[in-house]
């Protein structure tokens, strides 16, 4: 099942699969360690629902939902 990071619930984890075609955030995110195969956890949403806080390689990043949507993931709980 194909999901992007903005579709994950708070508390859920996922493994980065790829970046969307033409993603502007891709290079910066990759250099910060968000790579295919990396585990990402959604920590929380900002009070207004956007941006979102994620945990990756032991540190926290804030990114907008539009940017999170460029990160394609394999969800851990792919039952539904």
């Amino acid at each position: 099942m194909s999901l992007n990071l903005s579709e994950l619930d708070v508390g859920a984890t996922g493994i980065v699969r790829a970046f969307a075609e033409g993603s502007r955030a891709a290079m910066r995110l990759r250099e910060m360690g968000v790579l295919p195969g990396t585990e990402v956890r959604i920590v929380r949403l900002a009070p207004l629902g956007d941006p979102i806080e994620i945990e990756v390689r032991g540190f926290r990043l804030s990114l907008r939902k539009t940017e999170a949507a460029e990160i394609l993931i394999e969800s851990d709980d792919s039952t539904d």
Binding site: R24, M27, M32, L35, P36, G49, G58, L61, S62, L63
Partner: protein
């Protein structure tokens, strides 16, 4: 001496002609790099800008174990040498030896956050590829331990083949071993920890060839540069750097087009293969104990960015900030005021009366004093902004506010600078340096003066006093009018930001990928040092221009001289300022202003609050501090047009307030915007658009009010 010469020849480069070795400090943001730099160099540092760019340049010095001076450059923090902003381009260009004002540094100190080793090592890898002798500082080992991460410095040293020093910069622990390491004469250049894969090799070779003729650098450096060119999506250039040459970039783009055509993701390849090596190293040098439970930062964040408590926290922080600015600043402001007055009367007593005395007392001292009086407020703001930055709260404020700010095309990082501008636009504008995107930064600077600063308060208070003659009017009416001015300015700031982003600076929205670092106890020393640096910078930059403008304004209101018998208000009327006021009257009459208000507008061009004192002179009020605004208010209410109709009608007072909401009546801001945008273009644009808006809106308010029968 012989040693020194030998060591130089080993580097092939001299960072400094005098033979003093030069170290570059490199590291991720929040790695504690600047704390370490301050701990090493103390007060022996110079802060300025890189020529041609508004990127802060910090150079310091300390003495080695052998008593020789060692120079240190604190470079901008970054996650990668692939530049996306002017800061990052400066970092890249200094390390590549492409800056015109300086030689290439001899050696590098890489500062890494031990609790965050993997990501920090990415930049270290890029630096090692450059081939400069490098020392690694494993900083914040205490925080790593608290996080359940243990790093073995010896193992890391073996893996990377460079000296590794464990450090806790905030407690000074590890400083001596670092000094010892930096004093070493024989520091071998590093081995390359990573090499490009074979698919990239032909392209790298060809770019190296294109670069080589121009740089005269070692091959390892040129090769690293070639890989950087292939990694970047766009080549960011800054003034004062030698250009890599179009040919190298052409060659790179040609190969890239070919790779793109066969769907080879070379940039992903470069990053991933570096991280592969890094992950390998980390697995050998790092032990991670899982399940430590939520960290302190996490527990703080569950309140600080909570959907409800987050707003409450933000409001509380801002309230404390403004209370501090307005209450704490009061005493030093009073002190400066009386010092300036004391200085004025001292000069008056010592010098014979005449033009020179008047120039010094009424021109220079009064003019400069009018600006220096805001220094306490500015410094308190610098202090608080520094505290918010160093503690990690700044990133949270950006996180909370981003959604709202993005509505007008800005991002969360514009929030604190704009908010600071409610006290004074100068610290606000200087705080915009944390905004990486140049367009977002420029728009924030352009709209910052619209936030009603504290220098407008005296004008607002005077006009409200004149507007509401009766004491019986409930206080809430006054508060309401005052609030209206703040709302008007804030609304205009957001409106113009939206407009500028749509019209002037089109393009894709900026990225908002920011780290939310763990909360840290700020180092008071760092915060105070930064505050003092910024304050002295403001005084140096703005001081001379303010002095100049003050003298010009003094000249305009003093000459041509009237005979002694004439009253001071009459003298002003006969002066150049009076003539300009008269000349201005046809232009400002549609706003309901006469030539005397015109004099006030001109006189307050350097600083808004001067309006009150100059209006007092024009309407012959000897305004004593004790009596407050009452005599001035009565004089204003008695003022008339030549035909006998009252001048300061409620509508005119209101229109004047509206004018001051918009008008760019502040020389200090103009000077600081010039410095922060590095050209006269933007401050002049700002002056024109703000004054134009002030005029048009005031015109609409006054004429509209008259049509409604309010005049």
């Amino acid at each position: 001496m012989a040693d020194r010469v030998k060591s130089k020849s080993a580097f092939h480069l001299a960072g400094d002609p005098s033979g003093t070795p030069v170290y570059a400090f490199v590291g991720n943001p929040n790695s504690g790099k600047t704390t370490l730099f301050n701990a090493l160099t103390g007060m022996r540092q110079k802060v300025g800008n890189y020529p041609g760019v508004t990127v802060e340049r910090k150079v310091g010095e300390f003495f080695s174990q052998h008593g020789h001076p060692i120079r240190v450059i604190d470079l901008p923090g970054a996650y990668s040498l692939v530049a996306r902003s002017p800061d990052e381009a400066i970092l890249r260009d200094v390390l590549l030896g492409r800056r015109l004002e300086m030689h290439r540094p001899d050696r590098v100190v890489c500062v890494v956050d031990a609790s965050n080793l993997e990501r920090n090592l990415y930049l270290v890898f890029q630096v090692l590829e450059l081939g400069l002798p490098t020392i690694l500082v494993l900083n914040m080992i205490d925080q790593a331990e608290r996080k359940g991460v243990a790093v073995d410095p010896k193992a890391l040293e073996r893996e990377l083949g460079i000296p590794v020093v464990a450090c806790q910069a905030n407690s000074g622990h590890g400083l001596v071993p670092l000094k010892v390491a930096m004093s070493r004469i024989d520091l071998p250049p590093p081995e390359r920890p990573w090499l490009p894969g074979k698919e990239l090799k032909p392209a790298v070779e060809e770019i190296v060839e294109a670069l080589e003729g121009r740089s005269g650098q070692e091959r390892s450096t040129v090769q690293a540069e070639a890989i950087l060119i292939l990694s970047e999506e766009e080549h960011v250039r800054v003034a004062g750097s030698v250009h890599v040459g179009d040919r190298a970039i052409e060659v790179a783009r040609r190969h890239e087009a070919e790779w793109e055509a066969r769907a080879f993701d070379w940039r992903g390849e470069i990053v991933s293969s570096r991280y592969e090596s890094i992950t390998g190293i980390c697995s050998r040098v790092m032990r991670r104990e899982r399940n430590l439970g939520p960290s302190v930062s996490d527990r703080i964040d569950s309140v600080v960015v909570h959907p409800i408590w987050g707003w409450a926290t933000l409001a509380a922080v801002m309230t404390v900030l403004f209370l501090a600015i307005f209450t704490l600043a009061e005493y030093p402001m009073g002190l400066i005021d009386s010092m300036m007055a004391g200085l004025g009367s001292m000069v008056t007593a010592w010098m014979p009366p005449g033009d020179l005395r008047s120039l010094i007392v009424d021109g220079a001292i009064a003019g400069v004093g009018g600006v220096v009086i805001f220094l306490p407020q500015i410094m308190i703001l610098f202090f608080f902004v520094g505290l918010l930055e160093a503690s990690g709260y700044m990133a949270r404020a950006a996180f909370i506010m981003d959604r709202l700010m993005s509505r007008v095309g800005l991002n969360g990082k514009s929030f604190i600078p704009l908010l600071s501008s409610f006290a004074c636009a100068i610290p606000g504008i200087m705080a915009t340096r944390t905004i990486e995107d140049p367009k977002d930064r420029l728009v924030t600077i352009l709209v910052a003066p619209l936030m009603s600063c504290s220098a407008r308060l005296p004008v607002y208070l005077l006009m409200i006093a004149a507007l509401i003659p009766s004491e019986r009017v409930p206080i809430m009416t006054k508060v309401g009018i005052m609030s209206l001015m703040y709302i008007l300015g804030t609304g205009a700031a957001f409106g113009f930001a939206w407009l500028f982003k749509r019209v002037l600076m089109r393009g894709e929205p900026s990225l908002m990928i920011i780290e939310l670092p763990p909360y840290r106890r700020p180092s008071l020393r760092n915060v105070v040092m930064q505050m003092l640096e910024r304050a002295s910078l403001f005084l140096r930059k703005a001081g001379t221009i303010i002095l100049g403008i003050s003298i010009v304004l003094w000249f305009l209101s003093t000459y041509p001289k009237s005979p002694e018998s004439v009253s001071s208000s009459e003298a002003v009327a006969q002066s150049f300022a009076g003539h300009i006021g008269h000349a201005l009257e046809p232009v400002i009459e549609p706003l309901g202003f006469d030539w005397r208000i015109g004099i006030g507008l001109i006189a307050s061009f350097a600083a808004r609050e001067v309006f009150v004192s100059s209006i007092a002179v024009v309407f012959s009020v000897d305004q004593g501090d004790e009596e407050g605004l009452t005599p001035l208010r009565q004089a204003l209410l008695a003022a008339e047009w030549p035909n006998g109709s009252p001048l300061f009608t409620p509508l005119v007072c209101f229109t004047l307030m509206v004018f001051y909401v918009f008008a760019m009546q502040c020389v200090s801001t103009i000077v600081i915007v010039k410095r922060e945008t590095n050209s006269w273009r933007w401050p002049l644009f700002q002056l024109v658009y703000l004054t134009g808006t002030a005029y048009v809106v005031s015109l609409i308010v006054f004429q509209g009010g008259r049509l409604l029968g309010l005049g």
